[in-house]
């Protein structure tokens, strides 16, 4: 038996704003019968002020899914669209007192429906179904993208695969993607805020040496080594001097006839693309 707060039970027993807004200005949907929960959110929006004047929902799902949807409609009514769009799944859970960890995905569903509704309004009111980017799907059972998993990890400070499952459902069915989820966790939590965001406005040349090394290491790890690994090789960062980067090819790459091509044509190209076009790479 889940330990639901009184507020969850109240919204479940007496859901507010059930139904669909007539002539809705925005319709956002998420989920399906297959997934076991689904939410359709319709909004009436003042075109002048962009204030949400009315919000209604229809939900197929458990008690916490119904309560999350109901409380969401109360939270967004009277807010401007841009303020409403800032609401996170944690805000929804907080408004309800709390949700059991296993049920956090219900609050995520509310956030996703809202995201779809905002998009719907921007597109002239045509209903929008929240969709994950197909090319980056990690969990194929529940259709969860890498982006959605990273977002859940960041927003909610998740540290284990189990928690990711509770929040996004990813890994909750066949479990085959659990290894991949662990890798995403490792990646996100090893550099809580990626250098790209942190130093986006700073030029490579202006970074401190430690920042430079971190930045280079990140790109090497994410974009270079996986490719080299496939051929049984890898690359080590040896030195950084201004815009000049010295590396050593290791493993199968070290004696490879195509080593020069790898160095200039691949590693240098990637670093120029991802960090700074002025970077040059040479053999240590």
């Amino acid at each position: 038996m889940w330990d639901y707060t009184d507020k969850v039970m109240d919204h479940f027993r007496h859901p507010r704003n059930v139904g669909a807004v007539e002539n809705a200005d925005a319709t956002g949907q998420v989920g399906s019968l297959v997934c076991g929960d689904a939410l359709k959110l319709t909004l009436k929006i003042n075109k002048e002020t962009e204030v949400i004047e009315d919000a209604k929902f229809e939900t197929f799902g458990c008690a916490s899914a119904i309560a999350s949807s109901s409380v969401l409609t109360e939270m967004i009514k009277g807010k401007t669209l841009s303020d409403a769009a800032k609401i996170t799944n944690q805000d929804i859970a907080d408004e309800l007192g709390s949700l059991p960890a296993e049920k956090m995905h219900c609050s995520v569903m509310g956030m996703e429906a809202l995201e779809a509704a905002v998009q719907s309004y921007r597109q002239g009111g045509k209903p929008v179904v929240f969709e994950q980017e197909a090319e980056k799907i990690v969990c194929h059972c529940f259709n969860v993208s890498e982006e959605a998993i990273i977002k859940a990890i960041r927003t909610n400070h998740l540290t284990s695969v189990e928690e990711v499952t509770f929040y996004t459902k990813a890994g909750g069915a066949c479990g085959k993607c659990k290894g991949e989820i662990q890798k995403i966790l490792d990646k996100v939590n090893s550099c809580a805020v990626p250098a790209t965001e942190q130093n986006a406005d700073k030029k490579f040349a202006d970074l401190t040496i430690v920042e430079k090394i971190k930045r280079l290491e990140q790109v090497l790890e994410e974009d270079v080594r996986p490719q080299l690994n496939m051929d049984g090789g890898s690359v080590e960062l040896v030195d950084v001097n201004g815009l000049n980067v010295k590396v050593r090819l290791v493993g199968m790459c070290s004696g490879c006839l195509a080593a020069d091509a790898t160095l200039k044509g691949f590693i240098e190209r990637v670093l120029k693309e991802k960090i700074d076009p002025a970077i040059t790479v040479e053999k240590a």
């Binding site: 039970m9 479940f12 027993r13 859901p15 059930v18 139904g19 949907q29 019968l33 297959v34 076991g36 929960d37 689904a38 939410l39 359709k40 929902f57 229809e58 939900t59 197929f60 799902g61 458990c62 008690a63 916490s64 899914a65 119904i66 296993e102 049920k103 995905h105 059972c141 529940f142 499952t165 459902k169 909750g172 069915a173």
Partner: protein, 389 residues
């Protein structure tokens, strides 16, 4: 509010006679059954009496074929690992696709250890696919483990036939019989069953005690390694009070299983089933209506979610369970319903009612009175309700 308890497949209350029988073994007769003084002998005798009672319940030829365990999960794990360790050269094992996790997970583990595993499927009514089973069996099969009755739908499998085929191929046969105990008479001595698991709390003993039946002359390797208890087949100081309770509960269940109370219970179950299917559109029965334990009915209500149904039933004191994803830690609807190919619009909205001998018509009628309204209200807020009839 009076509780209407219709979840007896999940657990049952300890009966007063059972509680009375176990009580002295906590504070007065606390001897370790292995020790050498009269206090200990008393514990030992009580335990051996319980062994007779459990043997009687399942129709075992000898009391020494009963090994006491801590639960049916332990019994199931013990049976599976004993079978594969006893026949190390055989690398194939068979089970059904609708087993309890206590069978499923050890099988999946053995699959990762190089075992070839066949999970025999079921049809839309949950009936065992005998043809698939016959084709899967071969002389390399170490073990066939198939449940007697399904906990979610109550569907009974033809265990005598399944067991006989296993034996014909030289495989060991085990059955998880947790859901048939006290619901029909059993006679394992006349059947080719090598091992059988049962759980005390499903028939009015406390939680935390179970048993494994191992037919004499069956190759056996213990699971919990420890002292010489249970003739070295299960290490660990015997839980005397709970074993006494299991014995008493077994004696009572044996009487019930051959009495007239079962047909009365089946009649009430049928009343509930027919009433719900008639009153609620887009509802369907899950399971085999003909071969089923007498206390269980599982019905799916389309376009609504099971946990939400249960939460509303709670408001009337009605306890039932659901195969919905949301009621378990898992996020998928019941693997049993999915193995039966139940459509997703129905899979999330299943409710299981499991009755006991003390269930009354008044209680059943209360469910019939409130459930149609609950389903209607949930459909009103469901975005899929427009698909419903």
């Amino acid at each position: 509010m009076k509780l209407i308890y219709l979840d007896n497949n999940a657990t049952t209350p300890v009966l007063p006679e059972v509680f009375e029988a176990m009580q002295p073994y906590f504070m007065e007769k606390y001897g370790n059954a292995s020790s050498m003084y009269p206090l200990a002998a008393e514990s030992h005798r009580a335990m051996e009496k319980a062994r007779e009672q459990v043997a009687g319940l399942i129709g075992a030829a000898h009391a020494d074929e009963i090994i006491f365990t801590s639960c049916a999960t332990e019994s199931d794990n013990t049976a599976i690992f004993s079978a594969v360790r006893s026949f190390p050269q055989k690398k194939h094992i068979i089970t059904s696709a609708v087993e309890h996790p206590a069978i499923m997970h050890p099988y999946q583990y053995l699959e990762t250890q190089g075992y070839k595993v066949d999970y025999i499927g079921v049809d839309a009514q949950g009936r065992f696919n005998m043809e698939q089973y016959k084709a899967a069996l071969d002389d390399n099969t170490a073990l066939v483990s198939v449940m007697w009755a399904n906990s979610e739908t109550g569907t009974l499998f033809p265990i005598p036939e399944i067991a006989a085929l296993a034996k014909a191929h030289g495989a060991l046969f085990h059955t998880d019989a947790v859901q048939v105990i006290g619901k029909m008479p059993l006679d394992v001595k006349s059947l080719p069953i090598d091992m059988l698991s049962l759980s005390g709390h499903k028939f009015n003993a406390p939680k935390g005690v179970g048993a494994l039946y191992v037919k004499r002359a069956t190759r056996f390797t213990g699971y919990l390694m420890g002292g010489h208890q249970e003739r070295t087949r299960r290490g660990g100081t015997e839980n005397v009070p709970y074993i006494v309770a299991l014995g008493k509960a077994a004696e009572l269940a044996q009487k019930r299983a051959s009495g007239s109370a079962l047909s009365k219970m089946a009649a009430l179950r049928d009343r509930l089933q027919e009433g719900l299917l008639k009153a609620i559109p887009d509802s369907k029965l899950n399971g085999d209506p003909e071969h089923r334990v007498p206390n269980t009915v599982n019905i799916s209500f389309g376009y609504v979610e099971g946990e939400a149904i249960l939460m509303h039933l709670n408001e009337y004191g009605i306890c039932a369970s659901s195969g919905s994803a949301c009621t378990s830690g898992s996020l998928e609807p019941s693997h049993v319903l999915r193995a039966m190919g139940v459509d997703f619009k129905f899979a999330h909205g299943s409710v299981r009612f499991s009755l006991s001998e003390s269930t009354t018509q008044e209680e059943v009628d209360k469910v019939l009175e409130v459930l149609p309204g609950i389903i209607e209200n949930l459909r009103k807020i469901s975005p899929f309700s427009r698909f419903a009839k």
